[in-house]
């Protein structure tokens, strides 16, 4: 399925957000997710189904002021 992951178009073989994270090899990394601009809590990823052209944001801790 064609998805836009962190601004980059990719083909990802996954039906759910949880499966997409697995397919993208995030493994156990500490990340948070948003789908089409809406926050998706970790506990909801497995029940969050994806559609063609969905925009996924995957973020992690980073330096900040």
């Amino acid at each position: 399925m064609k998805l836009v992951v962190n601004g980059v178009e990719q083909d990802v073989a996954a039906e759910t957000l949880a499966a997409a994270l697995g397919a993208l090899e995030y493994g156990e990394a500490l990340v948070a997710t948003a789908l089409n601009g809406e926050f998706v809590p970790a506990r909801k990823r497995a029940e969050t189904f994806l559609r063609e052209d969905d925009r996924i944001e995957i973020v992690a801790p980073r330096q900040g002021g």
Binding site: L24, G27, A29, A34, A60, Q63, G64, G65
Partner: protein, 267 residues
Amino acid sequence: MQHDGGEELETLKVYGVELKSRLLLGTSKYPSLDVMGKSVRAAEAEVVTVSVRRESSRFREGQEFWRIIRDLGVRVLPNTAGCYDVKEAVTTARMAREIFNTPWVKLEVIGDRDTLAPDVFGTVEAARILCTDGFEVFPYTTEDLIVCDRLVEAGCKALMPWGAPIGSGKGLNNPFGLRVLRARFPDTPLIVDAGIGLPSHATAAMELGYDAVLLNTAVGTAGDPIAMARAFREAVEAGYAAYRAGPMQPRDLAAPSTPVVGKAALT
């Protein structure tokens, strides 16, 4: 007030958390993560600001950064830096809450790209949403009295007026406005956030009676960030101690410090 000079410095209590350090430090712009960690230790900061940014599954930069922060044993204050509208800031705050497992958020809704001035209208709106949602909001704001009133009404139990634009290093642009805020909100923790460039600026903020200062660029981009972190720690402590000691009132005319009475008549 005691007069023996032995008055103990009080802890800062914010959202129910007691802090000994009144210097909150950012984690960005250091030459390396190692220098960042050493600077946080030199500052003796107990709270550091962090952000969330896109993570690549290949490079995983965020995971290494987070490991270092955890090892420092400090409390984190996640920000919504770079957000220009309410929805973006609220979504970023929710992602940060999950990642860092804290209700604290340094709320930034930016209104102007050149000055990074806060969009105070958006900040109030986002603060209302986040406070209702259980967040403990530290709003980055101007020193505008009415905006600060609205932020407190929205549920904020701390305020973070800017000293000057983020990263400008100009110090306190409006000491009068900051002083008015201190008088109006005697029981709300007030933290000068942004614009601090020199230790003397931090001292000046504390001498106004502010509870703490938050800074990043002044330490991160210093020639020797670790030494500068130490300098800021001492500056904040000096300003706080001076405020508590009761500074003299300035006056227009001179007043001799040496007694006039008893001077020998020699002319």
